[in-house]
């Protein structure tokens, strides 16, 4: 450093990459020692006589510092090796490894292949696990992920297309869930008990409409707000709904939540062991797995409807107006677009899909309480949309599979106990790994998995618009 500032020094030969990496790694290790040393090296515990003693863990701190050293060394080496080329980013280089033809096949073939996989997944699981473990795989992985895919596709309309940052999306999920729970447990038994088996199918549209209505209610006061202010108010709205559900016990039964919510029927045929149940009607042996498989196909259809509708809307004037709103609101108004209505439709339609998902969630769980609708849920859904690349359906689906599937998978990593000892519970590290993965992905692909935008109309050839031009919107 001194040589660069002091003209009297002759400039030394540039250090070799290895020496340079070693130096940077040494610095990183020293910093790591300073930061982690006091935290990790000493621990206070109680000894046999109940006295507080300091336990030293020099071994642990040595491992951490060595890991930092090695990591930084390899990183530095990797980057100095690449620097002279000044080539494209890591991601572009990786995808550049694939020949063009293969990339085209992946691009055009992926959605149909994913669709087929989606439909055969339960059968495959069933035949692989022989029925016993299937429930977990279809429910925790299939249904759970698909609920988030659907929620993210719904939020994508508001955030990705219209560019309105909504941090309270979970409110509409809650509205949908409580709409189904309350109508199915209170209203229908009191009015038309005969419709009990149809409850889910009646309530699904009602829940969607109610959620859309709440979307408009939220939309009105926040229409004048933009960016950060909009985000804060939507966050507050989500919290208000949750607090009302907690405190208005006469209405929502507070923290206790609502239980014994009727489960969906197979278009009027209930899933139970009775003579008129699903298994008996179709001559099968009774098993709870049929209901799970049915729920799986219901959420597949709901998610596909969400995708289809939002894809369709994007190509209609209203969808173009959403995207134009994200790009430049003032220009929209100068072209005669009613921006108030345009924003409200985005809120309403996004909320409607949230409501559908909510009522499905209530039907699948059979029990709901305000715990399920915390801000954390909104944050996860938003994270999926951002990671997927705002506005892209496929990117969002990939992100949902990676995030939700990934965290579920961590529950399965029991073999890690063999390495880290019996106290080690990988599920406890879910959020840590989740956070690290998000940071890594955002460094690798700052605009999400699929950052390009497909035009909605073309004159000669349809070409993707690169992320450099597409704006993110500021409410």
């Amino acid at each position: 450093m001194t040589s660069a500032t002091d003209p009297n020094f002759a400039r030394p030969a540039p250090p070799t990459p290895v020496a340079r990496a070693a130096r940077e790694a040494l610095f990183a290790a020293i910093i790591a020692l300073g930061v982690f040393g006091p935290l990790l090296a000493f621990r206070t515990t109680q000894d046999m006589q109940n006295r507080l003693i300091v336990e030293t863990r020099y071994g642990l701190i040595a491992i951490v510092v060595l890991l930092v050293f090695a990591g930084r060394f390899l990183l530095s080496l990797w980057f100095t090796r690449e620097r002279p080329e000044a080539g494209p980013a890591l991601g572009a280089r990786l995808s550049g490894l694939m020949p063009q033809g293969l990339r085209d096949i992946v691009r055009t073939g992926l959605p149909p292949a994913a669709l087929v996989a989606l439909f055969v997944y339960p059968m495959m699981i069933l035949s692989l696990t022989g029925g016993s473990g299937a429930l977990k795989w279809i429910d925790n992985f299939g249904i759970q992920i698909l609920i988030y895919v659907m929620l993210a596709w719904g939020l994508n309309i508001v955030v990705g297309l219209a560019g309105l940052l909504d941090l309270g999306y979970v409110a509409f999920y809650a509205v949908g869930a409580y709409a189904y729970a309350l109508i199915a447990t209170k209203v229908i038994p009191a009015t038309f008990p005969g419709l009990g088996v149809w409850a889910f199918w009646i309530c699904l549209p009602v829940a969607g409409i109610l959620a859309a209505f709440w979307g408009v209610l939220l939309g009105f006061p926040v229409l004048r707000l933009r960016g950060d202010y909009l985000a804060i108010v939507t966050l507050a709205f989500g919290e208000i709904i949750r607090l009302v559900l907690i405190n208005w016990t006469a209405f929502s039964n507070g923290y206790e939540g609502i239980s014994t919510i009727p489960r969906p029927s197979f278009f009027g045929v209930p899933f139970n062991a009775s003579d008129t149940g699903f298994a008996a009607t179709f001559g099968l042996e009774f098993s709870p797995v049929y209901r799970t498989i049915f729920l799986y196909y219901v959420i597949v259809c709901l998610a596909l409807i969400t995708a289809w509708v939002s894809n369709r809307l994007r190509k209609l004037p209203v969808g173009r107006a959403w995207e134009a709103l994200r790009e430049d609101e003032i220009a929209c108004r100068s072209l005669g677009i009613n921006t108030v209505n345009t924003k409200l439709t985005a809120f309403a339609i996004g909320a409607m899909f949230g409501g559908f998902a909510g009522s499905f969630f209530a039907a699948r769980q059979g029990f709901i309480s305000p715990e399920s609708f915390t801000f954390m849920e909104s944050a996860v859904i938003l994270a999926i949309v951002v990671l997927g690349g705002m506005g892209s359906l496929i990117g969002t689906a990939i992100a949902a599979v990676a995030m939700i599937g990934g965290t579920e998978l961590l529950r399965e990593l029991d073999w890690l106990k063999a390495i880290f000892g019996r106290d080690f519970d990988p599920a406890q590290y879910r959020m840590l790994i989740f956070g690290l993965a998000m940071v890594a992905i955002m460094v690798w692909k700052p605009r999400g998995f699929v950052s390009t935008r497909m035009p909605t109309a073309f004159l000669r050839s349809r070409r993707a618009v690169s992320a450099d031009h597409v704006k993110e919107g500021h409410g």
Partner: protein
């Protein structure tokens, strides 16, 4: 002489203590190219923002008179209704394109209102009714027509943000024309264009007036551009109208010369002699 399409009466716009436009009255006649000129900060953009509804004037009345005799009081209309119902379109001094959308999409967004009703407020569109498909094809044809006029056909499927500056200005004009306005307001359309691009722009503006019967109101701070194509010039300085007339009249007006050269009225004679007028 044709009737007035736009009448501005006693327009005043105050920002706190700053009087940006002060008791301005002028008329723009149907079929004319009317120019509003004046030095930087004279209040020209503010006048446009009042006409197109982006600012609510402190005082004054702005009347838009359509060919069929209907009138709109623009100071009472919301900004989007001014484009939708009063048929006044505008461009911006700092270009405002939808840069992440393609050139063609920009022109389709401009046809939002007719397309919206053709899509049955999206319901028919979602169901895929043929009426919407036809409407969209017509919209694309219209966009293609304007792309052809602006020489942008080859760039139709490129993102608007990718275009060079001159074509971006042209695209913004084409986009405004896609709303089928009766009055088109252009805020410094020639700013930042090279002389060749300026000539092309003048041709485009003349074409718009001649073939589409659209009246034009344009802001310019460079006098030379305006003198060539406008029929009528209004000169603003510090929010006050200092001159109003045909280009030769305005050019001769000592007040205008003083405003542009920044000298007192009494010194105008001397300055004129120096610059050879």
């Amino acid at each position: 002489m044709s009737e007035a399409i736009l009448t501005v009466e006693h327009l005043t716009m105050r920002f706190g203590g700053l009087l940006a436009v002060n008791d301005l009255s002028f008329e723009a006649r149907r079929g004319d190219i009317t120019a509003v000129i004046g030095p930087n900060g004279a209040g020209k953009t503010t006048v446009f923002n009042c006409i197109t509804g982006f600012y609510k004037p402190t005082q004054g009345r702005i009347t838009m008179r359509h060919a069929d005799g209907r009138t709109h009081l623009l100071e009472r209309l919301a900004d989007f209704r001014i484009a939708q119902e009063a048929k006044v379109a505008r461009t911006f001094q700092n270009i405002r394109l939808f840069s992440g959308m393609t050139v063609l999409e920009n022109l389709l967004v401009a046809q939002h209102n007719p397309l919206m009703s053709a899509s049955g407020w999206s319901i028919g569109g979602i169901l895929g009714l043929p009426a919407y498909g036809r409407a969209e094809r017509r919209a694309i044809e219209k966009a293609a027509y304007w792309l052809d006029k602006c020489g942008l056909t080859d760039r139709a499927d490129d993102p608007a943000g990718d275009l060079p500056y001159g074509p971006q200005r042209a695209l913004e004009i084409a986009r405004a024309m896609c709303t089928e306005p009766e009055l088109l307001c252009l805020d410094e359309p020639a700013a930042g264009l090279n002389p060749r691009e300026s000539l092309v722009l003048n041709d485009l503006l003349r074409f718009i007036r001649k073939e589409h019967g659209t009246s034009l109101l344009l802001i310019e701070h460079d006098m030379s551009v305006v003198m060539e194509i406008s029929d009528h010039v209004v000169v603003l300085d510090y929010g006050i109208k200092i001159s109003d007339g045909t280009p030769p009249e305005v050019r001769e007006d000592p007040k205008v010369i003083a405003a542009y050269l920044g000298v007192d009225d009494s010194e105008v004679e001397k300055v004129e002699a120096e610059v050879g007028l």
